[in-house]
Amino acid sequence: MKNRILVSVLVVTTTLVLVGGATFALFTDSASNTGNSFETGTVVITAERNLGEAIPGPMFYTTALQGAPPATGGLYPTGEYYPGQSFARYLNVKNEGTLNVYLYQVGATVTDATPGDGVDDTVLAGGLNVRIEQALSGTLLYDGTLAALTAGPVNTVNLLPIAVGGTQNLKYTVSMPIDAGDVYQGKSIIVEFVVYARQQANI
């Protein structure tokens, strides 16, 4: 009797060991989804003056030579500014990227054209008003002092859409209020006007 029990235990134990040591061999397979590629689009804009003049070149210039090209001088010099004076010029902004954009900010930088003479000409930025709007519809982007524009970038009053490959013609009007004051006499500055675009999607 004891012998049989011993054998049974041995058999059971052996079986358990055999079962415990065997690897699983279920049926399996694998498959891949390849070719998942991602490419990002681009937000790219360019801007050129747009009054029928040679490009590139500044929109506003006091003397013809400052408005080059061509080397003989730009076609539409403004001459000097004084209280009550105002000029409008145009900037053509083009979407050269692959994503639709909004023009959403504008800004400017102002530097003294005569540095080192002990007079800070950049104060003139406080005496000039800049109005930026869409030329055709008058949709307003910015209306305020040049000084406030340099503190920017400033969010535009309205978002201006430019579809891929499309353009927007902006009208810049720079004027000197009639009550500007003598502090702005005899000042000379160089200004860079900047426009900013962002993706339209998802915001």
């Binding site: 937000v43 804009i45 070149g57 500044p58 006091t62 000097e80 004084y82 900037l91 160089i190 860079e192």
Partner: protein, 165 residues
């Protein structure tokens, strides 16, 4: 248990800070138009001589003195100027003295008491100048009340831009 809650709160707090602090990094671009120049003009009126145009000491009734004043627009903008006279509060001699102002073609622009000498609205283009002749005379019928008196006056010129004005 309390420790687990504390740790969870800490993780949540740190995540919130990280999310809140992140700036929006959408796609953007900018374009510039450079080299725009703006220059303002000047209104600048200059006088020559700058002082003592007409002076006379030891005047007797009938004496006169004249001087030529060159008024120049030394600014870049066309200007319009006017002249008034600051008299001498301490004296009445400036009211007794007679002043005549003429332009270069001898047209009389003012004649009357020196203390009230004035000119109105004369226009000068940038770089232009004109000569005004001032003649100051102690009238012959000036009485003894005016013996031993003196006065000093200044001719004050004010100019403004003509554009948009």
């Amino acid at each position: 248990m309390r420790r687990k809650i504390m740790v969870s709160l800490l993780v949540i707090a740190v995540t919130a800070v990280m999310v809140g602090g992140a700036s929006l990094a959408i796609f953007t671009d900018s374009a510039s138009n450079t080299g725009n120049t703006f220059a303002t003009g000047t209104v600048d009126i200059a006088l020559s001589p700058a002082s003592a145009l007409v002076t006379h000491g030891n005047m007797a009734p009938g004496d006169s003195v004249s001087g030529d004043l060159t008024v120049t627009n030394s600014g870049s903008l066309e200007l319009r100027y006017a002249m008034t006279t600051t008299g001498d509060d301490a004296s009445t001699l400036d009211e007794q003295l007679e002043c005549t102002i003429k332009d270069s073609s001898d047209t009389v622009l003012y004649t009357g008491p020196l203390s009230g000498a004035q000119l109105g609205d004369r226009v000068l283009d940038s770089g232009d100048s004109e000569v005004l002749t001032f003649i100051v005379e102690l009238p012959l019928d000036t009485d003894n009340d005016y013996q031993g008196q003196s006065c000093t006056v200044s001719f004050d010129f004010a100019a403004e831009q003509t554009a948009n004005n």
